[in-house]
Amino acid sequence: MLQPNQPTNLTRSEPAARSKLHPLVDWQFDRSWFDELQARLNRNGPWDDWQLYQLAVEAHQAKQVTSFDELRCLRCLPSLEPMPHQISTASKVLHEMGGRAILADEVGLGKTIEAGLVLKEYMVRGLVKRALILVPASLVLQWVRELNQKFGISAVAQKKEHTWQYDVVVASMDTAKREPHREKLLSQDYDMLIIDEAHKLKNKKTTNYQFVNQMSKKYCLLLTATPVQNDLDELYNLITLLKPGQLGGQSEFAANFVVDKRLPKNEDQLQEALSAVMIRNRRGDGGIHFTKRIVRNIPLSLSPEEKALYDGVTAFVKERVVETIADMASMLSLVTLQREVCSSRDAVFVTLVNLFKKTAEDSPLRAKIWGLVENIRAITSNTKAEKAMELIREIDDKVIIFTEYRATQEYLLNYFRANGLHAVPYRGGMNRGKKDWMMDLFRGRAQVLIATEAGGEGINLQFCHNMINFDLPWNPMRVEQRIGRVHRLGQQHDVRIYNLCTLGTIEEHIVSLLHEKINLFELVIGELDHILERFEKQELSIEQQIARLVAEAGDGTDLQRRISGLGDSISRIRSEVQSEPELEEEDAIGNLLDAVGQSISMEASP
């Protein structure tokens, strides 16, 4: 019945009165209710219920937007606790910027939360109904989840043509700008457009830029942690997309504000112009203080049977490496065997059986593989699993266990169940509903979650602060992702990380590399990206480099020497990276951007 903005629905004569209440203000009185009332009188009904009539009025009284200024959405979101800088950012966008802004917080300060607050507030006030959120494809589901779970906004991920009809749609930029979608989106008016990773719009000539420029939108948020990467023009383009003329025409901008690509002039003026459209919160000098990470390596000795299997597999791998001569892919898969033994016999069993099937029937390898399988039979217990069990009992609180292998996961589930411990699984292949269910179970009654996947769409487990790395990925980013599940904004406790580490195996070397050389577990969030980016610029991914070392190393000490060489080069890069922020302090653009926002320092209160 409330459709003040859709005059097309009112078909009868003089559907609404339009006049002026004040010289500046249009006034519209919707009469559609009256026509309907008359129609019902003529037809003698049907009539609605008096109780529900009263309830409808009460609903509107409760939802009434009583003032222009307050942030009403907060009272609708009892379980969301935004941080003070997020709230102040949202209200600045709403009340001072008219709903068009660049949110340029540094990584990890919660741009998504800020954007969600702004969107929710407009929705609660009835100023936004249709919203489009364009993000990189890998973030689509994460956005959908956050909007739904944290903000109670029914956002859907764009999958099919008809999805565009929903009120709030999250889509990837690459899909949206392609036909037939492009045309469809350009023919609509969106109450709000949000673009994540908006630095991809810095170049005027790209289809991304032109597409967004052509869209019709009322409110608009651009999210990026790096509004300028190389060139002041990037900043100009971004702002012009949002508010054409804010920095004048292109040539005016160049004349007034630019000395050189990276050197601005008239900074005060430029900064003023920027701060009208951009908010940038930075970590305070001490950085945001997350709670502590307490890392404990738990060295374990393999049982004689397990050791025999490990040695057998190692010998097998060595032999094969010599034969296959450094084909990277097969080398990786061979080394995987060694890693699997360190995890569980079940993991290595599956791989061996597959390998056996793939091997030609007359190959002499078959006998060797079968010999290894026989070795497996001899193993009756799993040293790591027993230790993990002991740890969990000791911790006596929620624990998340990460393993790389599905077979290990199954084994642990059964092993724990047999010992009367509630554990639930989590893996990438589960559909969304099942994942959510497993999360709920873990939050509720299960003490242990056994996960094979850490990345992907956010599993956020701030309610748990103990994690066991049953085995470790070789890619430090993936280790960081694992930790990031529990150690993130909102975690109230120090996070305890236990690394199970079998002595005399490659695992021992990996743990020492990640822990001692990279100091992975104590890095500032975001730092690892920079380090790896540089390290991997050189050649192979770190995972591949390690695999090569392992495969090519002569014996244990040789391997140790090589891995420690790798570690040293990473340490070097790390100290380079860490000394850089000081260099950036000198950077004129950096200074300019920094001046636009506030610096946040949040000492976590334990």
């Binding site: 019945m1 006049s19 203000v25 249009d26 009469r31 009539y53 309830l55 009434q64 008219g98 009322k218």
Partner: protein, 320 residues
């Protein structure tokens, strides 16, 4: 709305919709929905069209509505603890039969958790702002828009032929929205006597003090209407316009100022751009300029709109 208000609201909604409450506490309801409530709340149009077409007996859904999460969860935890304390330890859950069933299920469905493998009653959080509560709000509106009611007589009539005079009123609850790039709202309620044409404010409050019924009570007669519904409508329009004209419009002046600033800004950007553009590019840039202008007007232009929440004809005792 705090938890108690939400709880009361939910209770009254379930009553009005004829739902069957299976269990309740001050913090929750377990409820089997009535067909009407199921249609309004569960989003199962295919199922309902199936029922409508085949005439099958509908099976409505049950829901657990939690109106106070903290209390509810505390109560649940306490109940569980008590249960555990009272009950002797269960017989060995690892009995061969049980584990065989689990294993069989696990083969078909992946891992199956023994204890949760029961039918679930979906749990809904009913805090202010939650989607389910909003849905209740919308359902109230949808089924509470147009009414035709009579005041119940206060006392029994002594004389069988004594008749009380009633007057018909047009009543409407209005929401007025003051919007630019920001917004606020006011609610109004008007009633106009169709006998005399007098217009009453806060009409809804007056109705709440009375008992209303959809049935024509005995021994009453309705005064002849002195004016048409159309006339009553214009009375309401004039009254509200008069009230609104006396408001403070500095917000609109500010919005207009912002609007003009924004228009100036893009004019300074686009006009030189168009002037210096190649002839063949001009139409495209002009079109873009028009679009930006339209967006800015859409965003900032101050406007006031009134629309009805709900309305009805109310027959009240007395000649007014």
């Amino acid at each position: 709305m705090n938890e108690r208000q939400v709880h009361r609201y939910v209770q009254r909604f379930l009553d009005a919709m004829d739902c069957t409450v299976l269990e309740k506490s001050p913090a929750h309801f377990k409820v089997k929905l009535s067909p009407a409530a199921d249609r309004a709340l569960t989003n199962r149009p295919y199922y309902w069209s199936f029922v409508d077409r085949t005439g099958a007996d509908p099976e409505t859904m049950s829901m657990l509505l939690v109106t106070d999460r903290t209390k509810f969860e505390a109560a649940e935890a306490a109940a569980l603890a008590q249960q555990q304390a009272e009950q002797p330890p269960k017989p060995n859950p690892e009995s061969p039969l049980a584990s065989a069933t689990d294993a069989a299920l696990a083969r078909s469905f992946g891992f199956v958790h023994g204890e949760v493998n029961t039918i679930r009653m979906p749990r809904e959080e009913m805090h202010f702002g939650s989607r389910r509560l909003d849905q209740l709000f919308d359902a109230s509106q949808a089924a509470g828009s147009y009414v035709y009611l009579f005041q119940e007589p206060e006392r029994k009539h002594l004389l069988p032929y004594d008749s009380t005079p009633y007057t018909a009123w047009l009543g409407v609850n209005l929401k007025v929205e003051f919007a630019c790039d920001r917004k606020r709202e006011e609610l109004y309620s008007f009633g106009v006597s169709l006998a005399s044409g007098q217009c009453v404010e806060r009409f809804h409050d007056r109705l709440l003090e009375l008992k209303m019924t959809p049935k024509l009570p005995p021994n009453i007669h309705i005064t002849k209407n002195g004016l048409s519904l159309g006339k009553a409508l214009s009375t309401i329009e004039q009254t509200i316009e008069r009230k609104l004209k006396n408001q403070d419009y500095s917000w609109a002046a500010q919005a207009r100022e912002r609007l003009d600033d924004e228009l100036d800004r893009i004019r300074n950007y686009y006009e030189p751009l168009i002037a210096s553009a190649l002839e063949e590019n001009k139409p495209a840039i002009t079109e873009q300029y028009d679009k930006r202008q339209a967006e800015i007007r859409w965003q900032y232009e101050p406007r006031v709109t009134a629309s009805a929440i709900n309305c009805g004809i109310f027959h009240l005792a007395g000649i007014d």
